[in-house]
Symmetry: C2
């Protein structure tokens, strides 16, 4: 079954805005057995909205319109849909009354303009909006389902879930999508692809996408299943891919690298302290993005300046003078120093040249050292990271997390 | 003049991917006098691409197709465009030769499959791709400009700039878009809107959008100008809005808050050290995202645990026991301690309850204190921040930056 999403709003056609509602809707529609075949973004003009809807009615089984249900003159979705379907619009007195009550509860009287939000297209089922003022609508036109939803994500999600999904499922006929997510660290996108492409190409029924983001690669496998069918080939290709990637796979359940590392630290009963120079907090911010990370993360130092390396981590001034701040020696001294400061099991440090200035032939922009200290050893790893300042910093933090994971395993 | 963007690729119709190329293209098209009226996202199917293009040819003056120019069977943009325009495709021997040379330079021989990338639609101008293997095309069909561009952003941007923009400008007829960006901190979206809506509503020719992101509100004003016209009303509304918002406006040039704060620190010759508890590095990571921030940022401590507050910032144990880690007293002690550690001009601290656990009736999730210490005073600010863990942490870091800016002004 084919679904189509139409996002309405002139702000979505500026250089500053993306339609992100469609991502959530796509996931839910896929789960309900619908493939999203087209997404369209159109401005607040009746003719443009009507034109796009007319075409959608010729090619899709379900059409979801998002946005343009507000109270102002720019909110034209109702008008456009009524025009295309040739159905009259009327003002529903019950909705006017409930809008009035909604305003009254907040101590306001309803502006006359808000009566627009009580306009209903003939034959539509009204969808309640627990999070906002604009009600939605569900219509069926010659067997095609058409939903009108408000644009704000919180309102849209709740209304889709409660008011649209049950209708959509009943049209879907039991088809569904099975999915596997495999997250990989420590490899480049092309390294991952060269290992796994020969595998997934042998399974044309399974859709495979490779998403490179900063610090990790996400493989997404999916397969459409008819009612009662089992995803045997999907599981087979996933197992073969996992085997080919080995230890580089850190999650098959969509977890982040920091959550996986947190789990390993908690399991081992060990604690962590960090010392960050060029990343200046990015590693610690990631580690502590996991709720409950206070069980294993103690804190650390932001040693952006040499002054801070000396004062906060007792790195000898001579060492800085002799080897420079970006060196294996200083990386290890920082890891050692932060571990000593906080009496943690593990000390982990990052020092590097993030650029754009400050690079040299010997120590170019992108050179990063990660230092490690625990009760048995002090060591370091070196990596050259390509990219701009923020990419280098983010990848350096991920590189440290990835080394931490490897050591804990 | 009307422009339309068609993004091609089945991965853009999954729950994991957005078409972001269109943002860059929209900005450039606007500058060239074209309004983007519709954006469509369509999968790797000839019929779907052809259907979308047929409709676009009926309503737009310029059509930009992105993606689907690779060497595999999934890359169908060329085929679909040739079919709709009723033009033959031929293989260009010069392009085959240059693709062969490109592979040879990298030490490979060209796979036979890559010959597809040398397929040219009759009458098309070939657009060079300095950053990749797929050449692009520019065609004019009954006065409508049609561009075929590769999907990877780096390839697309360079090719659009060099190969498409000159053609588009010659079609555009001198119309252009004037813009003003006003960035605001320390106010909510509705506070900003209630102050500025009465102003911008009096200028219907100026398009105004308000974008709320974590920590700041961005106002974007734009106005279409005919050849030779001056943006007087745009400047007038921008000035009135700036006057209404006063000190809350931190930039009219698109700068980030951290860049503005960095400029103020540099100008004043003062240095900064931080102590971060719940944000654990997010403030320092922001401050140091500005190149050259080592001129004024010295470093600081990540005092996530009480242990770290005591050991790294000499917060008295009794103070923690009496007032708790999230308190005005501890916020000030942290600011004072980090300033002492690094002999900086200013010490700035953050302590708060980020959740989801750890809240109480007295100290609920979202309660944040920012501490300040400099040569003349030690003080703090209290704020309740709604939202989830990451939102609270990000907003807390912005709140501290915003206070720092206010103090420096």
């Amino acid at each position: 079954m084919k679904a189509e999403i139409i996002a309405i709003g002139s702000e979505l056609l500026t250089p500053d805005h993306l339609d992100t509602n469609s991502l959530i809707l796509t996931g839910r529609l896929n789960d309900a057995g619908f493939e999203v075949r087209v997404k369209t973004i159109v401005g607040d003009r009746v003719d443009d909205i009507a034109g796009v809807l007319r075409i959608a009615l010729q090619r899709s089984d379900v059409i979801i319109l998002c946005g343009g249900l507000g109270p102002t003159e720019d909110d034209l979705t109702r008008t456009a849909v009524a025009q295309v379907l040739g159905r009259p619009i009327f003002v529903d007195p019950d909705i006017v009354e409930s809008l009035r009550r909604r305003f009254a509860r907040r101590g306001y009287s309803m502006p006359a303009i808000n009566e627009r939000q009580a306009q209903i297209i003939q034959g539509a089922e009204i969808l309640a909006n627990p999070h906002g003022s604009a009600p939605g609508m569900w219509l069926v036109e010659q067997g095609i389902g058409v939903a009108l939803l408000p644009g704000p994500p919180r309102e849209l999600e709740a209304m889709f879930e409660a008011g649209v999904l049950p209708h959509v499922k009943s049209l879907g006929g039991g088809r569904r999508q099975a999915k596997v997510a495999i997250n990989v660290t420590g490899m480049t996108e092309s390294e991952v692809d060269s290992l796994v492409a020969p595998i997934y190409k042998a399974y044309p029924s399974v859709q495979t996408t490779i998403l490179a983001s900063v610090g990790h690669i996400a493989l997404r496998l999916s397969r459409w299943l008819e009612s009662g069918e089992q995803p045997q080939d999907l599981n087979e290709v996933a197992n073969r891919i996992r085997a080919a990637l080995g230890d580089a796979v850190f999650s098959s359940a969509g977890e982040t690298l920091e959550a996986v590392v947190g789990g390993l630290l908690r399991k081992s009963g060990r604690t962590l302290a960090v010392a960050e120079s060029c990343t200046s907090g990015m590693l610690a911010a990631r580690v502590t993005s996991v709720p409950g990370s206070s069980d294993y993360f103690l804190g650390g130092v932001l040693c952006y300046s040499n002054e801070a390396k000396i004062r906060l981590c007792r790195v000898p001034e001579e060492m800085l003078a002799q080897h420079g701040a970006v060196s294996p020696e200083v990386a290890e001294a920082l890891a050692h120093g932060t571990r000593e400061n906080l009496k943690s099991s593990i000390g982990l440090s990052i020092t590097g040249v993030a650029g754009p200035g400050g690079g040299s032939a010997e120590k170019p922009v992108g050179l990063v050292f990660v230092g490690w200290a625990d009760e048995t050893c002090t060591t370091h790893w070196r990596r050259m990271i390509p990219g701009d300042r923020e990419t280098i910093r983010e990848r350096a933090a991920y590189f440290a997390l990835s080394r931490l994971r490897a050591f804990l395993m």
